[in-house]
């Protein structure tokens, strides 16, 4: 594990109650991996399940944490990123409170400060969400 959940806010601008990423498991320029335990008091939980918006935000924060970690490792100040677009979304299942979801993101293309990434979140090997995000990183 690269960054434990207790230290994840060193790498992302988000703060409670809107931190939607737990441990940063691995991060290279080619692949990001994280996990996240769904707490009962998470603001994006409804009726005991983490909602679609939460899954997408979790994926975006996985990117933010990974970019932040890599920037820091390379001696640069972490930049702030924004979700520019969400596409090709397929949600097949919502994780319940108490579950720990696992997410893998692959950067596909970069054009200037815009990154196109593709990711999947899963629970016990079952795919919950697949989507592509355009992440705009501040200059």
């Amino acid at each position: 594990m690269l960054v434990a959940k207790e230290a994840i806010t060193d790498y992302i601008p988000h703060r409670a109650p809107f931190v939607m990423v737990g441990n940063l498991v691995s991060a290279t320029r080619e692949r990001f991996e994280s996990d996240f335990e769904i707490a009962g008091d998470n603001v994006l939980v409804r009726d005991g399940f983490f909602q679609e918006t939460g899954l997408i935000e979790h994926m975006a924060q996985t990117c933010a944490a990974s970019f932040g970690y890599l920037d820091k490792e390379e001696g640069r100040a972490p930049k702030i990123g924004f979700i520019g677009a969400v596409s090709k979304v397929l949600v097949t299942e919502l994780p319940p409170v108490g579950a720990t979801i696992h997410t893998v993101v692959t950067p596909l293309h970069q054009l200037g400060n815009i990154y196109l990434v593709k990711g999947e979140s899963s629970l016990d090997g079952r795919i919950l969400l697949g989507c592509e995000l355009k992440i705009v990183v501040s200059e």
């Binding site: 677009a85 596909l108 293309h109 054009l111 200037g112 815009i114 196109l116 355009k134 705009v136």
Partner: protein, 88 residues
């Protein structure tokens, strides 16, 4: 013969490019003309340029960068860039 072959393959590249651009960006194929503005005709914003880069990579196996777009105004400019990248 060789020149004709090159010309034909280049024309095919242009026609294929017009096909996938019109389909992806939902634009009348007849508007994709060398003299027309790439940005205005396809109604591109900065995020759409990423889609354009992906399309070009998937269809023509060319990897474009932000630098490549600095000099591009018209489809004609764009075709010349593609031609240069394909070394045709």
């Amino acid at each position: 013969m060789y020149a004709n072959d090159v010309k034909m393959s280049w024309e095919e590249v242009i026609e294929e490019t017009r096909d996938f651009l019109s389909e992806e960006f939902e634009v009348d194929r007849d508007l994709i003309l060398p003299e027309n503005s790439l940005k205005d005709t396809l109604d591109l914003d900065s995020l759409d340029y990423v889609d354009l880069v992906v399309l070009i990579d998937e269809n023509l196996n060319i990897k474009l960068t932000g630098e490549d777009f600095k000099e591009i105004v018209t489809f004609g400019d764009f075709y010349q860039l593609v031609r240069k990248k394909l070394a045709l």
